[in-house]
């Protein structure tokens, strides 16, 4: 199982310049990818332009968007052109794009796209996108419904899970693999997972606060998500082990504290494994 690092693009009060410094530091290892989330109505950096900039300051790590709320992005042609551009700027085999509808109505209202049309829009985009993006870009689908799995087997390379304890990941990953083999796709889907961490003195509460804020749209689940924050090397080791056993191909650990020392702390925690 490969381990990637999330970018600090959705943490409130992150200093300007942190994201690119973060990317340069992560490039030195031990991470295999740099990833970010996409969200419209939130104080965060825009996903595709950020990845283009990150492509310019890194050479080794894979760049991943987990996941892009594609229906808010207009035509498949415009989206495919952006994706191709990032792929070209990053160099061969370095770009993973996850697509999904996202769970948030406010993003759609702000984007002037009907929330009720989200599934149909993504289906239409996907049909064109697979032709337009071309080879060399890894395409993932995110989402928890049956429709997401149907999209994955039709046109994508794999599945991106939304995060959660290893048991929840395992059952989602099993479903994705079952859908894949039921559809007669050869081999198995690439499966990405994610988790959140905050390491070091005083970081736990800051991190939980950030998660509660980011996930406030989930209602009663924000508390549960915040409680799942990984705050020690042992917790990270156990989480990684659980994901590895459940058949995760790449696990991305996202920061919740906007401080460069988090990159080093995570690197050390992973080496202790």
């Amino acid at each position: 199982m490969r381990i990637g690092l999330g970018l600090p693009t959705a943490i409130a009060a992150a200093p300007a310049g942190l994201t690119l410094d973060w990317a340069r530091l992560a490039e030195a290892g031990p991470f295999t990818s740099l990833a970010l989330h996409d969200r419209l109505v939130f104080d965060s950096l825009e996903a595709m332009t950020t990845l283009a900039a990150v492509a310019a300051v890194t050479r080794r790590v894979r760049l991943a968007c987990l996941v892009l709320i594609a229906p808010l992005r207009g035509s498949a042609l415009a989206l495919a052109k952006q994706a191709r551009t990032i792929a070209v700027l990053a160099g061969p085999g370095r770009f993973t794009i996850g697509l999904g509808v996202g769970p948030r109505r406010d993003d759609y209202e702000a984007g002037h796209v009907l929330f009720e049309h989200r599934g149909r829009l993504l289906d239409e985009q996907l049909a064109d996108l697979v032709q337009l993006v071309g080879d060399g870009v890894e395409l993932l689908i995110g989402g928890r419904g049956h429709a997401a799995l149907a999209r994955m087997v039709r046109a994508a390379d794999g599945f991106c899970h939304e995060g959660g304890d290893p048991q929840a990941f395992r059952s989602a990953a099993d479903r994705a693999r079952i859908a894949w083999s039921d559809a007669g796709r050869p081999g198995k889907p690439v499966i990405w997972g994610l988790g959140y961490f905050a390491l070091g003195p005083g970081s736990t509460e800051v991190g939980r606060q950030a998660l509660r804020r980011y996930y406030s749209f989930t209602g009663v689940h924000a508390t549960r998500i915040a409680a799942g924050l990984l705050t020690s090397a042992d917790a990270i080791t156990a989480y990684c082990e659980g994901y590895r056993e459940a058949g995760c191909d790449e696990l991305v650990l996202f920061p919740t504290v906007a401080d460069l020392t988090q990159v080093e702390r995570l690197g050390r925690a992973l080496q202790e494994r």
Binding site: P103, R105, A127, V130, R144, G145, H146, A147, L149, A150, V153, R154, A155, A156, S171, D174, R175, A176, R177, I178, A179, W180, S181, D182, A183, G184, R185, P186, G187, K188, S216, F217, T218, G219, V220, H221, T223, R224, A227, G247
Partner: protein, 665 residues
Amino acid sequence: MRIVCIGGGPGGLYFSILAKRANPAHKVTVYERNRPHDTFGFGVVFSDATMDFLARQDQGTYRDLMKRVTRWDSFTVIHRGRVNSVRGIGFSAIERRQLLLLLQQQARDLGVELLFQHEVTDPNAHLTADLVIGSDGVNSVVRSALAQHLRPHIEVGPTHFSWLGTDRPFDSLTFFFEANEHGRFGAHVYPFAPDRATFIVETDAETYRRAGAARFTEADTTAYCERLFTSQLGGHRLLSNRSQWQRFRTVRCASWHHENVVLIGDAAHTAHFSVGSGTKMAMEDALALSRALERSPGDVPGALIAFEQDRRPRVNHIQAMARTSFDWWSTFRHYVDWPPAKFGFHFITRSQFRWDTLVGRDACYLRSVEAAAGIDVRSRVMAVEPAGGDRSELVRLASSHPLTLTRLLPVSDQGRITPDDGRLDDYADLACRFRLGAQLSHAGPRGACLPRRFGTDRPLPAAEGWPLLAASAVRYTPASALPQPMNRSDMEHVREDFAEAARRAACLGFRFLQLQFGHGYLLGTFISPLTNRRRDQYGGGIGNRMRFPLEVLQAARAEFPGELAVAISATDWQVGGLTETDMLAAARLLKDDGADFVTAMGGQTTSQSKPPYGRCFQMHLAGKIQNHAAVPAIAAGGITDLDDAKTVVLSGRAERCLLDSLHHT
């Protein structure tokens, strides 16, 4: 804010408490038609998972509840005098009246206005409040008043039940099954105190009619059930409390809210009591609603949208589970003559549990199931050659399984899915050395596609494609080529191709043949009503839709002496698809025309089908084919390992299973 709760059951009361706690300035009124001490329904059950959820969300209420509940740790099925007990399935229970009194007390202490014996007949009179909660249960007047906006759908179940109680002590959640001269009965026993239990008697429509229970008074019902369950009651009584016979109503609504009015609990959604989730869902609704309101201060409509979006997926999940469980209760007459151990395992695996989820709870119980069955499940597992695998993979599978099926092999060039499809003759050297089965298919409207490493159903460039056939001119995806509806001459060719392929398979030494009549391939397009729009003798009712598939089966059967299975999509996993009655009829017709097995696949009949993927996700379809239609079945779909095969085979749902070609490592 002025908040009105119409209905003072657990959901309404709990919400009033949470709202008042969130903001003591809210003026909250609860209208309840009964008196404070009245109650119906004896006890309330919470699973350990529900209690954990409550502990995380609301420590105060959790602690108050914990002082009053009784906890049990096992689950018992008593059938024909034999006891099957499974440990490690924990749940807590409380007398419903105690729960209500506890919530009433909390509400009163917080300053909620509780108005008892106050029946709201016209919810419109309360619409001036800032927020109106319809927590008035399954017969909700709020829901009726707003029916045009909420669009409720109420499904009346096929079984009849009576809600009783007993003073016999029970030490576990217990299920009894009994027969008498009228038919079969089951009893759900949910203890809620050391010497009290809810005792629900349930039966099918036929038994109910023969017993003449429609004319029973409450006393008649009690006396009848006491007689029926004499030995289980051990001299104790049954207690009645508005215990007339009823049919369960499953409530679903297109929307749970309109403007400033929202439904919670049974008013919005119900799930058959055998999954024990009514009060749990009502209380979870209350929590979710209060959180949504806290997050959108001053924006009631926005909060109600967020509430519904949050709760829908969870409620849908419970309703889906309840549907499977309810379906079992509607059809248990098919299983009631089984040996007790097999019957018990079938019951326990009806919706929530499988071998792999029970093994950590009670391995000892599972060993008893295995011993009683005396079946080596390994001998019932069939592997399938993976789509992208090479020759060595097939050899590996064939060396370690009693039978291994090839990938789908086209019966003709026109029947290929992709240009890379294999052929029967590729297996010439292996078929005589290993125990192999051939899977024969004609792609129909799913033909002429890119190899599946690029995805599924992505059409080849037009110049590289070939003409497609189907029952009717229906494209598989919007991008697919339009197939030609088959004419008589096409049918003769295809039938002859299958016969020829079957002859060749026998000749090469294949031990087994499976004809693919599902998944939206050519023969499947005849069977599914979604893809067959013919007006001739091959379209219309299931008899007509099966006509051509049966002609193909007869032709292949005549050429192949070994075991022969026909795979169908036993459901379309789509609204408007194949009905259960048609599925059973199709299975019987296939058996009559010589199929030794029917393989219960599902979905893929159109590109819109949405199978609920997961472990063993369609084993219940095999179970119905095998037990309701009496046709030996092979289960397929999400059977990932030997544990899953044990779930399917030891529960009597299928003779054999097709293992998913899915490898973790």
